[in-house]
């Protein structure tokens, strides 16, 4: 397959913490402007894998990473790599929404401010654009100074998305973004992904099979640190190639 077409490629990625192997050699290609879903039972390594893509795993004491992770053809674990710049390019949304105890405006403006943008007009524009992209603008425009924590769960998560978008990433990593939300809030987030993937590459971890089926273009099935199968979602859910995959998605195990 020609190299030019992939946003992220991992080759034999291994991750272990204090001798315990969490990822046993993962080789995956992620295409740009698509939603790739990672599914698998608890503890299979999908979240660990996700966090390896923006080096959030560096925060884990005693973590050892082997293999390569290429983002736009550059190995992000190489010696010259600026982790801070990487994290601006590859943003992350967490399972439990974690807005800062600041106003809605300051939450979204945090990233740009940290990057040195001080001019009020520029910040205003970035905040508005990001909130619009996250489908939250209409709900908060009347009072941007209200605390981020005063929003509902679904709104908070969209605020976190806006916050991540404000730094101008190219990839969005979402770690079970809707698992703590009610069905209508979940639906809004899923709808958002359809729109966002036009401009961003999205990788989402979910243990909700139906969600993976609804939102993703490609699905990867993880099991105990290994990649079992990865294919177009449509094919994966009508006729998977590996029996283990079929057993998992039909709920026979896991």
């Amino acid at each position: 397959m020609d190299n030019a077409n992939y946003k992220i490629r991992t080759r034999d990625l291994r991750f272990s913490v204090r001798e315990k192997e969490a990822l046993k050699g993962i080789t995956i290609d992620v295409k740009p402007n698509q939603v790739t879903a990672l599914i698998g039972p608890s503890g299979c390594g999908k979240s660990t894998f996700l966090r390896s893509l923006n080096r959030m795993n560096d925060l884990v004491e005693g973590a050892v990473v082997r293999g390569t992770v290429l983002v736009d053809h550059i190995d992000i674990y190489g010696p010259e790599v600026d982790v801070v710049a990487l994290r601006k390019k590859v943003g992350m949304i967490f399972q439990k929404s974690n807005p800062f105890p600041k106003s809605v405006y300051d939450n979204v403006a945090y990233g740009p401010r940290v990057n040195g943008i001080r001019e009020r007009k520029v910040l205003d524009e970035i905040v508005e654009t990001s909130l619009k992209q996250a489908a939250l603008w209409d709900e908060v425009r009347d009072d941007l100074s209200r605390s981020g924590l005063a929003l509902s769960g679904g709104q908070q998560q969209r605020l976190c998305i806006a916050r991540a978008l404000a730094v101008g990433p190219e990839v969005l990593l979402m770690d079970e973004p809707a698992s703590a939300l009610d069905p209508s809030a979940t639906a809004k987030i899923e709808e958002l992904m359809y729109v966002l993937k036009e401009n961003y590459t999205i990788v989402i971890v979910t243990h909700n099979m139906q969600q993976a089926a609804r939102v993703s273009d490609v699905t990867a099935f993880f099991y105990i640190g290994e990649l079992i199968e990865m294919d177009e979602t449509r094919k994966m859910f009508t006729n998977p190639s590996v029996k283990q995959t079929e057993d998992y998605i039909t709920g026979r195990f896991g």
């Binding site: 959030m56 004491e61 967490f94 974690n98 945090y110």
Partner: protein, 300 residues
Amino acid sequence: MIGRKFLDFTVTTVSASSALFIILIVLVLIGDILLNGWSTLSWEFITESPMQGMTEGGIFPAIFGTFLLVVIMSFVGVPIGTVTAIYLSEYAGQKSIFARAIRFAVNTLAGVPAIVFGLFGLGFFVQFVGGGVDQVVSGGAELRWGQPNILWSSLTMALLTLPVVIISVEESIKTVPRELREASLALGATKWTTIRKIVLPNSITGILTGAILAVSRGAGEVAPILFTGAAYFLPKLPDSLSDQFMELGYHIFIMSTQSTDVEATIGIQYATTLVLLALTFSLNFSAIFLRYKVRTRSAH
């Protein structure tokens, strides 16, 4: 069974009595001080200097001295303690030898008796550092820094209260949820930026608690300043760091044991004690209140 019910009754009575006993003691203590000191307390008492050989007048210099001591102590102790706490909780690895050594030192320091600090302050700050500065400045001719003064007392007190500050600040930093740090880092902020913009602002109550507890202890301890700078009678207020100073706790000590006419100054002693107690109580209560606010915030 009768036996069990009797046991129940006994235990309840005994514990209630103990609690009552303690409350009683506190009431007696405060009551005694209030009763005997109230009459001497007045606006003039707080704002005037002592007169007639400490038998009349006010205790303003002692209040001023205490205040100055506490301010300098805080300016030195709180920043150092805060920075150490930040290092311990954010930068040092949990298992690193260095971190373990620091924690060990902090815990040990917390248990050192106040008088030992006083002796240390005398030997190290007054004689070694002070004497050394005098040597450098004037070749030993002029004895300016090599004697007790408010600077050495403040530094000694800062050392004493350092463990309190470090522990309070570290405790407060730990209540800042990991998710907030992760969110900041994931946005491309550096570790220091995250600490500066997220961790510290959200642990400010803990820092304040530590500072207030330190101040409260500083205002109350006498042993560290015995040899390092406190004086009983000074003609004027200290106007440089190399001056000695009067202090509330020290004043009470000297007045009640070594003054020329103990009987005549009883009223003043009580009143001074009352002022000191009022000061430390209000400081402690505000620290407790802040602590409560920290705990309820971390509960969500």
